[in-house]
Amino acid sequence: MTMTEVGGPDNPFILVNEPEGPPSEKLTPWEWIRKNLFSSWVNTLITLIFGPIALYLIYRFARFVFVTGRWDPVDSNLELFMIGTYPREERWRVVSQLIVMSAGIGGALGTMNASAKARRKLTGEEFVPTSWRTYASSYWSVVLFVLVLLVGFTDTTGPWLMVGAMVVLGVAGWAATTWLPDALRPLSWSASALLIVVSFQLLSGTGGWAWFYTVLALVPLISGVVGRLSPSIARMAAPATVGLGLAIAIAALVTSSVVVGLVGILVGIYGLVLVRQGDRLDATRVGLIMIASGVVTVLYRAIGLSGIDWSEWSGLHLTMTVAVASTLLAFPIGVLLALGRRSSLPAIRVMSVAYIEFFRGAPLITFLLAGAFFLGFFLNTESPLSLITRAIAAITLFSAAYIAEIVRGGLQAVPKGQVEAGLASGLSQPQITRFIVLPQALRAVIPAMVGQFISLFKDTSLLGIIALSEFLDVRLLVHAQEDFRGFGIAETMTFVAFGFWAFAFAMSRESQRLERRLGVGQR
């Protein structure tokens, strides 16, 4: 087999400390210039040609930014670029979303850091925390963007306070979860996830599927707590919790939703099977998750926070939401398609290939147009789907095909021997996929997935074509204003390009860093 194994002979699942460059020899500035710019006559000639060109370009650019640029259209419409036509009286929701989410993301990163550290302790390796320099070299573009927004385009203190709160809470979340004792790790996972979920609920309200995400965020905590139960308690808890869960499912069936109730009953039956098989801890987990679903639903109903409709979202806010939502939705579909493409059953393989090649063959815009014009016709929904929902559906179906190809690459990189070892141990094909192949394949494709997210993020600029005001198309609203008609176009375009660039650049740096850290592609 000529294919290189991921990470080669060494374990790819232990993060490699970033390779250091060769020790740089100390050069005086003069020596450095000679070595890098004038080492030969060709080199000198090139320097003499490109040097003035570079200086001129820098001069022109600086002049444009600081002297000639007419930035009023951006200056007076910054809020429009950020949140578009989002109702101004509901702005507190966006602000609190950002602040709460920062705490959650900080907490998640801290937890990740702490669990990596704890694992190193067990395996006896040295733990080298990622330095601030490394983070800075990845994320300086986003910091620059935020600073430009704050320093250049805001006159009030509100945005400063918001960013300040985000930073403080993010760091607080990171610090808290980093220093929390190992025993409380499930708690910090759940707490971080919960903060992120809650931040999203601030915008979309507590109806719909809110309970589902919330329970999902609680799973680590429930699982961790149950893992600590003594056998005697678990023996009693298992039937009790599953029974209560079933009761809740039946109540849901009668009172609110038939579908949710039926699914709940199926889950409850699975719990009963686990009780019968003697797997009491897992049974208790299933029972507690069902109970949590019921409690959270009731709780959310009591809160009754109504959502801000999708159709009100626009600007950078919409761009971000669509990119994240489509990636999250497309990921499971992509994984299934990749597995289907590698299936031993020809019919399933052919269908997966047909899907993948169809969506990869035509540009995204054709699917967006289809989404805008007739996607709703395929379904018999009572009320027509909103334009944003249809757009997200189209982007999701589209990017699932690309994710499938990425995951397929990861699957191919898992050596055949891994599957054989699984078969020889008596594991079933689904178990091998779940426990052996997918964890390795998905880990190997993380950098490529970040790359796919970048291109999806860039592709959201196409939403303007179907009349959704994302970040790029806000400029149409701006230049429709009396004061800015046909004025400062280059400036708004530059601003938009800078915004897209700042995020895409940071992510691409992060992707390169992950690639090095995971040792992907090393021989």
Partner: protein, 412 residues
């Protein structure tokens, strides 16, 4: 059972016994496939059934005949008025424009991409840095933003003057003559082009002869090189011979081709002669060329770096000079790595020309979108549009397979 006696020796048939069907892996596999296919077909049937019902309810025609009726809109710079049908006239113009933009964009992307890709590995710090900055900026901005930037910030609202009788465009003459070489405005540009002049057949025959001669020279020099070891310089010989004959024929046949210079028409609204093009075309082509160049540069750089270090060391051990090392060892291997992803970039660029909808360049997607806006049925048109792009993809993947087959290393 006796010790040492084969368990099943008495049965002569050594075929494995068949298990009951519900436990037979082969039966299970077939049943699984049938279930999968049937459920997918059912879901598709349901979806398409819904589509048809909803279309009928909305009173939308779902036949493909509507495509043969007049489009009711005109396309500028093309022989197409509102009575022309959508199929095939509009499609032909659209596909032609798509390919025109893609082809020129690819040329820009390849030339720039290769230069910048090599530039990133330059020993000269300045060149390496400038190349890196180019790549890091262009690669991380959505192509649509770049297109819109060119269209709105550079052309429509940029420094160029409008084009109408009261405000003539910039006309740049050839130095020392009255001939206009360039016409620049915020909307349309005129550049010189090549026009035929008189009978072309003799000239083409002459070119064919030149080609044959060139091949002959190539073969002869190759043989000389193999037999005597003298440097072959076959490229020089072959191209030299070809160009010599071509130039002589061109002069003798009284210049069958000549320059066509652009000129502002008397009405002051149109460009006559030369190659007239509009801001939409320029924006799309230049923007996609620049954007794709950043990706190709990364491919080139990655491919050169991917050639194992040992190869360079081995070449050094054979005492090849720096240039020979590149020419015979590094580049051939880097090419093999670079070509498939580069072809993929060509396909991406072709698909990205669909972004021209925002700048009203009449390639196929924006024509289809206009037609839908004019009340043509969206379903049929978009199905047709997807089919067109799928055809492009199919052609590229056939090319790709051929290339891969040619470039694959022979190995175990």
């Amino acid at each position: 059972m006796l010790y040492g006696v084969p368990l099943m020796a008495e049965t002569q048939a050594v075929q494995a016994t068949r298990p009951p069907p519900w436990r037979d892996v082969r039966v299970l596999g077939i049943v699984g496939q049938i279930v999968a296919v049937v459920s997918v077909v059912l879901v598709l049937r349901w979806l398409i059934g819904n589509l048809f019902t909803n279309l009928d309810e909305a009173g939308i025609d779902r036949g493909f005949d509507v495509l043969n009726q007049p489009t009711n809109f005109a396309i500028r710079d093309a022989n197409f008025d509102s009575r022309s049908p959508l199929w095939p006239d509009m499609v032909v113009i659209g596909v032609k424009n798509t390919l025109l933009s893609a082809a020129v964009g690819i040329v820009i992307a390849v030339i720039l991409g290769v230069l910048i890709g090599i530039g990133r590995l330059s020993e000269n710090w300045l060149v390496a840095r400038l190349s890196q900055i180019y790549v890091e900026i262009l690669r991380n901005i959505p192509p649509l933003v770049i297109i819109a930037f060119f269209s709105f910030a550079v052309f429509t609202f940029g420094p160029f003057p409008p084009f109408n009788p009261s405000s003539p465009p910039w006309q740049i003459n050839l130095p020392g003559t009255d001939t206009t070489a360039l016409i620049l405005s915020n909307d349309r540009w005129g550049i010189p082009s090549i026009a035929r002049d008189g009978d072309l057949l003799p000239f083409w025959i002459a070119l064919a002869v030149a080609a044959v001669v060139a091949i002959g020279l190539w073969t002869w020099r190759t043989r000389v090189n193999i037999n005597t070891g003298a440097p072959h310089r076959r490229g020089l010989w072959a191209w030299g011979g070809f160009l010599l004959i071509a130039v002589v024929a061109f002069v003798l046949l009284d210049t069958p081709y000549r320059w066509s210079w652009p000129m502002v028409s008397e009405s002051g609204r149109r460009i006559e002669g030369g190659f007239a093009t509009n801001a939409g075309y320029l924006s799309v082509t230049i923007a996609l060329g620049l954007y794709t160049a950043s990706h190709i540069a990364e491919i080139i750089r990655g491919s050169i770096l991917a050639v194992p270090k040992g190869q360079t060391e081995a070449a050094n051990a054979l005492a090849l000079t720096g240039l020979q090392r590149y020419r015979f060892v590094v580049l051939p291997q880097a090419m093999r790595i670079a070509i498939p992803p580069t072809i993929n970039q060509f396909l991406n660029l072709t698909k990205n020309t669909s972004l021209a909808t925002v700048v009203a360049y009449p390639e196929i997607t924006s024509l289809v979108k206009t037609a839908i806006g004019n009340g043509k049925p969206a379903v049929q048109l978009l199905v047709m549009l997807m089919a067109i792009y799928l055809t492009f993809s199919l052609i590229i993947s056939v090319v790709m397979n051929q290339v891969n087959r040619r470039f694959q290393l022979v190995g175990r």
